[in-house]
Symmetry: C2
Subunit: 213 residues, 2 copies
């Protein structure tokens, strides 16, 4: 859980009070009602607080996620992921940049035979390389990519929520969606089957927020 300090204080105030109006909470924190609104919205939507007209906010005592959150947690990566855009390790940085343009993506999965994930390359990596002295047409992506096992990944079955959390926590724009298998040497490998990005999360957010048909 990653509530802000202010959100934690709001929850404590509501717990102490039994039930309390937004105005009273704002008063206790010496803040305006408008400043508190986003915090109260998030705490209510996530099911920690219950809002009742005229009564105000109270703490939700029963354990378990709220019905809204139960539904949100049912959304899986497989339903929202994008098609994978891959490149071979031997391709040049220049080819990788051109592929990003033509496919309009911010990162590529670098793969070996059978689409096995070897690494990832991002616009940031290419921008960094272009500031150096190397010839982008000569240097292969394998030289500058972030290499396995240092890659954050997701799977088709992972809840969208926890994949989104990985994007935030690890400060990456994209996760490869992978399915694992055991190769002939008995080692675990990951086949790239998609991409899950901040764009996918933003689209889900908009879709949920759309109000009426």
């Amino acid at each position: 859980m990653e509530w802000t300090e202010r959100q934690q204080r709001i929850v404590e105030i509501v717990k102490e009070s039994g039930s309390i109006t937004g105005e009273k909470i704002a008063e206790k924190l010496d803040l305006t009602r408008a400043t508190l609104r986003p915090d109260l919205t998030i705490l209510t939507m996530s099911g920690v607080l219950v809002a009742r007209p005229r009564v105000g906010y109270s703490y939700r005592d029963d354990l378990g996620p709220s019905p809204i959150m139960e539904r949100l947690l049912q959304l899986r990566v497989c339903s929202f992921k994008s098609m994978p855009v891959n490149i071979l390790e031997s391709a040049s940085i220049y080819e990788a940049a051109v592929t990003m343009f033509t496919q309009n993506v911010g990162s590529l999965a670098v793969v070996g035979p059978e689409r096995v994930l070897l690494g990832m390359i991002s616009r940031k990596d290419i921008m960094k390389a272009s500031l150096g002295k190397g010839d982008l047409q000569q240097v292969p992506v394998g030289v500058i990519m972030t290499r396995m096992p240092n890659i954050f990944m997701t799977t088709p079955d992972e809840p969208v929520y926890s994949a989104a959390k990985k994007l935030v926590q690890h400060q990456v724009d994209s996760l490869p969606v992978v399915e694992s298998f055991i190769d002939e040497n008995g080692e675990e490998c990951y086949e790239v089957v998609g991409r899950f990005t901040k764009t996918n999360v933003t689209k889900i957010f908009v879709q949920i927020a759309e109000t009426r048909v």
Copy 2:
């Protein structure tokens, strides 16, 4: 509204039926229940359908957004935006790339005096420039930036939902957050006061999805 075709068909089926179980809807569409789950979740969360245990889904007849959506629509850009990261028009592309690295951002607002928005420059623009023959240390960002008035913007008061929709529709990773004012020549100008990005939306999504303190 941007429901998918399948979501529209689900709504029609539910409207026709009065109330109907998920299994029956799946049958009518010749799909599995698992395939339909994300659609049903989104339609229920956005308040178009009401789900009742044992009864199934029914159409929500009363107009106006659902309580969940009313709350979501209250979230404003000002509460979630990031600090602006700006650069002058005369700075070189090289300097812009270095600023993106040191500040760890994917785009910069190009500003004039009083932080007036002149244009935007992204990693994609820099990557494109680096594939050309120009000297990145000599060419100013003003040459390659996307220039006003071709910039999609947001304001502190805009709902997060509609700003997120702009990011999706216009396929940009970041919107400058601006406040407009009239300059001495009587022209409308925009002062850059922040950035609103897909990262901000992803963080809001995760925060909403967090279940319990």
